[in-house]
């Protein structure tokens, strides 16, 4: 990661901007929702690999800063949603796309399936992800 940051510095013009945009480890609540109601059914659980990636990315930026390559100008957070039509689609997605990083416990799966099945006809399922957006100035 540090080598990649050095390479980015090389191709950026002086005073160029690096934007670090990525999901970070935090609560990842699962909700069932419709136009009329929203119900939290549990939280996705972070697996060690996801946490390690997060730590490594932060350490790489710290190294780049201490090497004098970049200066941080701003840092902020926001949330975004992943939305699925059904509970089973969410389970399948998490199993195939996020399998190394997060998992759903059985209780959350059951609660999500039930809430989705018993809810309004337009019920959908979503996971909320916390995002980091940081702006760095190339020295």
């Amino acid at each position: 990661m540090v080598h990649a940051l050095d390479e980015i510095r090389r191709v950026l013009a002086p005073n160029g901007i690096l934007v670090d945009l990525r999901p970070i480890d935090d609560e990842r609540p699962i909700e069932v929702f419709s136009a009329r109601e929203t119900r939290k059914t549990g939280d996705a659980t972070y697996l060690p690999l996801g946490l390690e990636d997060d730590i490594a990315a932060n350490q790489a930026m710290e190294t780049a800063e201490s090497n004098g390559w970049f200066t941080r100008q701003s840092k902020g957070f926001f949330h975004l949603h992943y939305v699925w039509d059904t509970a089973s689609e969410m389970e399948e997605w998490i199993k195939t796309e996020w399998e190394d990083f997060i998992e759903l416990d059985e209780e959350t799966k059951r609660a999500t399936r039930s809430a989705w099945a018993l809810g309004d006809g337009d019920m959908r399922v979503r996971a909320r992800v916390k995002m980091l957006i940081a702006k760095w100035l190339r020295k």
């Binding site: 990661m1 080598h3 990649a4 940051l5 390479e7 980015i8 090389r10 191709v11 950026l12 013009a13 002086p14 160029g16 901007i17 690096l18 934007v19 670090d20 945009l21 990525r22 999901p23 990315a57 790489a60 930026m61 701003s74 902020g76 926001f78 949330h79 975004l80 949603h81 992943y82 939305v83 699925w84 039509d85 689609e89 399948e92 997605w93 995002m131 957006i133 702006k135």
Partner: protein, 98 residues
């Protein structure tokens, strides 16, 4: 499987709040299929999307809006070996890739 990622477009809003792309030479590292690229590239002078996954870049090339053919380009490469000269870009975006 139906998935909608960021229906509120919070990512795009925060990206535009953070940087002004107008007339800038942009490098996006980890562009994937171009989901984020389409959200800002029209304002840029030029945008290069970099990704190590050839299949994703194939999709991105097919999905590229026709009016951006001369503005957005893609390259199959990793962030550790960026195939461009020194000081080529004004903005680099690490898109979910650090």
């Amino acid at each position: 499987m139906t998935l909608i990622k960021d229906p509120e477009q919070n990512e795009t809003k925060h990206l535009h709040k953070t940087v002004d792309f107008t007339g800038k030479r942009v490098l996006e590292i980890g562009c994937g299929e171009g989901r984020l690229t389409w959200q800002y590239a029209s304002a840029s002078f030029s945008t290069i999307g970099l990704d190590p996954d050839k299949d994703s870049l194939r999709v991105a090339t097919i999905d590229r809006p026709s009016d951006m053919d001369n503005k957005i380009y893609f390259a199959n490469a990793q962030a550790e070996h960026i195939p461009f000269e020194n000081e080529t870009f004004d903005i680099a975006i690490l898109a979910w890739s650090l």
